[in-house]
């Protein structure tokens, strides 16, 4: 957090992004990427009205790996449900009480819920304290809420300290 690099993680992301776009790691590409990674955050920094700090980068990495695994599992679950005969699913609309606050953490949690097994986030409550989830096939709604809390929300709370 200094003057030249107001958002260090974002700058790193932009540099990696540029190298991926170029599809090579050469001196020229790295130099151009570094210039862009410094100039773009400086130019757009004032437009960001929310401030997010990654307090635990290691937990964030762990979170990402867990998420990737769960996406693969959820794909197989949904494929199994689709290929089974219809009318055997038990959909439900569940209210998920949020413990975290702030627009970025809630967005990350809502996206996670949409990407993981059998659930889609449909709406944020007006007071911002709860998420409405549509679950494709649940028998025990409380257990599903408990699992999301334990698996994702706890880690997000640790990462963003909110």
């Amino acid at each position: 957090m200094n003057k030249l690099l107001p958002a260090p993680w974002w700058s790193l992301f932009l540099l990696v992004f540029w190298l991926l776009l170029q599809n090579t790691v050469s001196f020229g590409a790295a130099l151009m990427g570094t210039i862009l990674a410094i100039v773009i955050p400086l130019y757009t920094h004032r437009a960001r009205d929310y401030r997010v700090t990654l307090h635990r980068p290691l937990v964030a990495g762990q979170y990402f790996i867990i998420l990737l695994g769960d996406i693969v599992v959820s794909n197989f679950n949904i494929a199994a449900i689709i290929l089974r005969p219809r009318k055997s699913i038990q959909p439900a609309l569940i209210e998920f009480p949020l413990e975290i606050s702030g627009s970025v953490p809630i967005t990350v949690l809502a996206s996670t819920i949409s990407l993981t097994p059998g659930t889609i986030s449909a709406e944020l409550g007006r007071d911002g304290r709860s998420l409405l989830i549509h679950a494709l096939n649940v028998t025990d709604a409380d257990a599903a809420i408990e699992q999301i809390k334990r698996r994702y929300e706890r880690r997000l709370k640790e990462i963003f300290q909110c």
């Binding site: 991926l20 776009l21 494929a79 809502a110 996206s111 990407l115 007006r126």
Partner: protein, 120 residues
């Protein structure tokens, strides 16, 4: 472009077929699932692995036959960013239009007025 050894060809074909199968199952889900909200689950989930499999196949093919190629990863990044958001917007629209859900959907909302347009 030189030819690939046989094990590499098998690996690449495996990932492409995996991706294609999941994309197909995702599209099939649109047809088979009972209501709007349930249908949303199929394209957001099954297709992430579908596209993922094809991307891995493409990365393997170009990395093994030519030089290291990772820019397919950008497709995955954009997909992970956009798929949940478009699903969320569609679900939101469906909710506010109060589309009919299948009969065995349980509504476990304690405060339904929190999620509706109507002023109470």
């Amino acid at each position: 472009m030189n030819t690939l050894p046989q094990w590499a060809e098998l690996l690449v074909s495996f990932f492409i077929i995996l991706g294609a199968s999941f994309t197909f199952i995702g599209s099939l889900g649109l047809l088979r699932l009972p209501d709007f909200m349930a249908r949303l689950h199929a394209p957001t989930k099954a297709t992430t692995l579908g596209v993922g499999g094809i991307i891995i196949g493409s990365m393997l093919y170009f990395s093994l036959s030519d030089t290291l190629s990772l820019h397919e990863l950008l497709i995955a990044i954009f997909l992970f960013l956009t798929a949940p958001i478009s699903a969320h917007l569609l679900a939101k629209a469906g909710l506010h239009l109060e589309l009919k859900l299948t009969d065995n959907t349980r509504d476990l909302r304690k405060k339904p007025e929190q999620y509706s347009d109507k002023d109470s």
